[in-house]
C-alpha cells in the first residue's frame, strides 16, 4: 500500500473545475515531484490533500486511512506537514515563536525542545535570528523558517510547495540539499516546483499536471525532453 493514495479526484474552485480524475501514489521514503505550468492545479491538489479544500468527488488515503473528509488540523496530527506556497510566516511572532507554534499539537508539543534543537542544527541561521520578528528575515531565511516550522510538527510526510520562488540559485541549491538529507533520514517528500530540471534531478518519481489532469508520470530518468514539454503544454 502506498503511503499516500489519491483516487479519481475532482476538485472545484468556485465554479471552475481545477482537478479532474487525478490519480496519484506516493510510496514510503520516496521523493515525488509534482510539476506543471501555472494554473495547472498543483496548489489545488496540495490544498486538497492538506484539507483546506474539499473534493467534489474521489478520495485520498494516507496510511490506508481516508483523509479527504478531515479538517486540516486533524490531517496535520496524522503526520502530514505542508510548507505552503508563499511561506506564510506569522509577522506577529518571532522566529522562535513561529517554530514553536509549528509544534502546537499535543504529540509534537511534548518533544518540542528536542525538535527545536534539531531544526536549529539543520538551519543554524534560524538560531542566530531566533529573537527577530519572523517577517524580518530575508526570503531564503523565511523559506528555511517555513520548512523548519513544518518539521516542528514531526511529520512523516512533507509537502513543499514552490519553495524556490523568488530565491537565488545558491540558496535553492542549499535548500534542496537539506531536503535530500531529510529524506535520507526517513521523510517521505512531495515537491511542487517550477524549476523542472532541479526537481526532476532529485526525485524518484514524477507527475506532470496540465489543466487539472495528470498527463505524464513515471521515473524522471525515463522522461524525454519532448515528452515533458508535451505533458506541460500539450503541443
Amino acid at each position: 500500500m502506498a503511503m499516500l493514495e489519491v483516487r479519481d479526484l475532482d476538485v472545484y474552485y468556485e465554479k471552475f473545475q481545477a482537478l479532474s480524475g487525478v490519480e496519484l501514489d506516493v510510496q514510503r521514503g520516496q521523493i515525488v515531484s509534482l510539476l506543471g505550468a501555472n494554473g495547472a492545479g498543483k496548489s489545488t491538489l496540495l490544498k486538497t490533500i492538506s484539507g483546506i479544500l474539499k473534493p467534489a468527488s474521489g478520495s485520498i488515503y494516507f496510511d490506508e486511512k481516508r483523509i479527504d473528509n478531515l479538517q486540516p488540523h486533524d490531517i496535520v496530527n496524522l503526520g502530514i506537514g505542508l510548507v505552503p506556497e508563499g511561506r506564510k510566516i506569522f509577522s506577529a511572532l518571532t522566529v522562535r515563536e513561529n517554530l514553536l507554534i509549528g509544534s502546537y499539537t499535543g504529540r509534537a508539543r511534548r518533544t518540542r525542545n528536542k525538535t527545536l534543537e534539531d531544526v536549529f542544527h539543520l538551519f543554524p541561521v534560524l538560531k542566530h535570528r531566533s529573537q527577530q520578528k519572523g517577517t524580518d528575515l530575508s526570503g531564503g531565511e523565511q523559506q528555511m523558517l517555513s520548512i523548519g516550522r513544518a518539521l516542528m510538527s514531526q511529520p512523516r510526510f512533507s509537502i513543499f510547495d514552490e519553495i524556490s520562488l523568488g530565491l537565488s540559485p545558491v540558496v535553492v541549491k542549499e535548500l534542496y540539499r537539506t531536503i535530500k538529507r531529510i529524506n535520507q533520514e526517513g521523510m517521505t517528500v512531495v515537491l511542487v516546483e517550477q524549476d523542472v530540471k532541479r526537481s526532476l534531478k532529485v526525485a524518484n518519481f514524477a507527475y506532470i499536471l496540465q489543466e487539472g489532469r495528470i498527463t505524464l508520470k513515471g521515473n524522471p530518468r525515463d522522461f524525454t525532453e519532448e515528452a515533458v514539454k508535451k505533458a506541460y503544454f500539450g503541443v
Binding site: 483546506i52 479538517q71 488540523h73 505552503p84 506577529a92 507554534i101 502546537y104
Partner: protein, 287 residues
C-alpha cells in the same frame, strides 16, 4: 481652565475602565472580524451574577470575582462553541443577527429575573474620594478601576505574547489557513478566545456595577462604549484600545461638564460618529 482638571483626570481614570470594557470586543474583532453585539449583555450579566453572589454569600464585590470570572469564561466558551461556531465563515450577516438575538434574549431574561429596578454593587470605595490639594476630587473607586484595568490589559498582553494559546490566537487572526496548517483547530481557538473575552467583560461588569447603577438594559450603552473604544483606538492595537478608552472617557466627562450631565453619553456618541465617518479603522489601527 482649572475647573476642567477634575473632569479630565476623572475622564482618564474612567478611560481605563472603558479600555477593559472594549478589550474583549477588540480581541474578538481581531480574530474573527465580527462584532459580538451581546458583549454589553455579557458585562451586565456578570454584574447581576456578582449581585447574586454578594447577596447570597455576603462577600465584598471584588471578591465575587472568584465565582463570576470562571462562570463567565464557561458561558463565553459555550456561546461561541454552540452558537457562533455554527455560522463562522458564512459572512457578516448571520453572526450579526445571532449576536443581536442573543443580546435581546439576555437583556430580557435579566429584566424578567431581576425587574427593571436600578441596582448597584454596594461598596465603600464609591463614597470615599481622594482630595488632591483641594484642586480636585477623585472617587477612590475610579482609582481602583484604573489600577485593575492596567493589570488586566497588562496580563492580556503578556498572555498573547508568551503562551501557546496567545500565539495561536494571533496566528489565526493573521492568517487562518496557515494557522490550520500548524494543527490549530480554529473552532476551539475561537471558543477559548470568546471565553477570555467574556472574562474581560465580566471584570468590567463587576467594576461598572460597583461604580454606577445598572439596569437590565445597560448593556446597550456599554456595547456602544466598547465599540467606541475599539474604533477610536483602532483595531488590533492594545495600546490603541487604552488610548481609545482615555479619549472616550475624557470626552464624555468633559462634554457632560460643558453641556450638562444628561448629555454625557451623547458627547461620546458624537465623537464616535465623527471617527466612524472619517476613519473607521481608528486612530492607531491598521486598515
Amino acid at each position: 481652565m482649572l475647573r476642567f482638571l477634575e473632569p479630565i483626570i476623572n475622564g482618564v481614570l474612567l478611560g481605563g475602565l472603558y479600555a477593559v470594557i472594549g478589550i474583549g470586543l477588540s480581541m474578538i474583532f481581531g480574530i474573527i472580524r465580527q462584532v459580538n453585539l451581546a458583549h454589553g449583555e455579557l458585562m451586565i450579566l456578570a454584574s447581576y451574577f456578582s449581585l447574586l453572589t454578594l447577596q447570597l454569600l455576603g462577600l465584598h464585590p471584588l471578591l465575587t470575582f472568584l465565582f463570576v470570572l470562571p462562570a463567565m469564561f464557561i458561558f463565553g466558551y459555550l456561546i461561541q462553541a454552540l452558537l457562533f461556531n455554527r455560522v463562522m465563515g458564512k459572512g457578516m450577516e448571520p453572526f450579526l443577527m445571532i449576536s443581536f438575538g442573543l443580546s435581546i434574549i439576555l437583556q430580557n431574561a435579566l429584566l424578567l429575573i431581576f425587574t427593571p429596578d436600578a441596582r448597584s454593587l454596594k461598596n465603600t470605595l464609591v463614597i470615599q474620594s481622594l482630595n488632591v490639594y483641594d484642586l480636585f476630587h477623585v472617587p477612590l473607586i475610579y482609582i481602583v478601576n484604573f489600577a485593575v484595568s492596567i493589570l488586566v490589559i497588562g496580563l492580556l498582553h503578556q498572555f498573547m505574547k508568551r503562551t501557546y494559546l496567545g500565539w495561536a490566537i494571533s496566528a489565526s487572526a493573521e492568517d487562518l489557513s496557515a494557522a490550520k496548517l500548524m494543527g490549530i483547530n480554529p473552532k476551539r481557538v475561537y471558543a477559548l478566545a470568546m471565553g477570555i473575552a467574556a472574562v474581560t467583560a465580566a471584570i468590567s461588569g463587576v467594576l461598572v456595577g460597583m461604580t454606577f447603577t445598572f439596569y437590565p438594559h445597560s448593556g446597550t450603552q456599554y456595547l456602544i462604549i466598547a465599540f467606541g473604544v475599539v474604533i477610536i483606538g483602532g483595531l488590533g492595537s492594545l495600546p490603541g484600545t487604552f488610548l481609545g478608552g482615555l479619549i472616550l472617557g475624557i470626552s464624555q466627562l468633559a462634554g457632560g461638564h460643558i453641556i450638562g450631565p444628561g448629555f454625557q453619553l451623547l458627547s461620546g456618541y458624537i465623537i464616535l460618529l465623527v471617527v466612524l465617518t472619517i476613519r473607521p479603522q481608528g486612530i492607531l489601527g491598521r486598515g
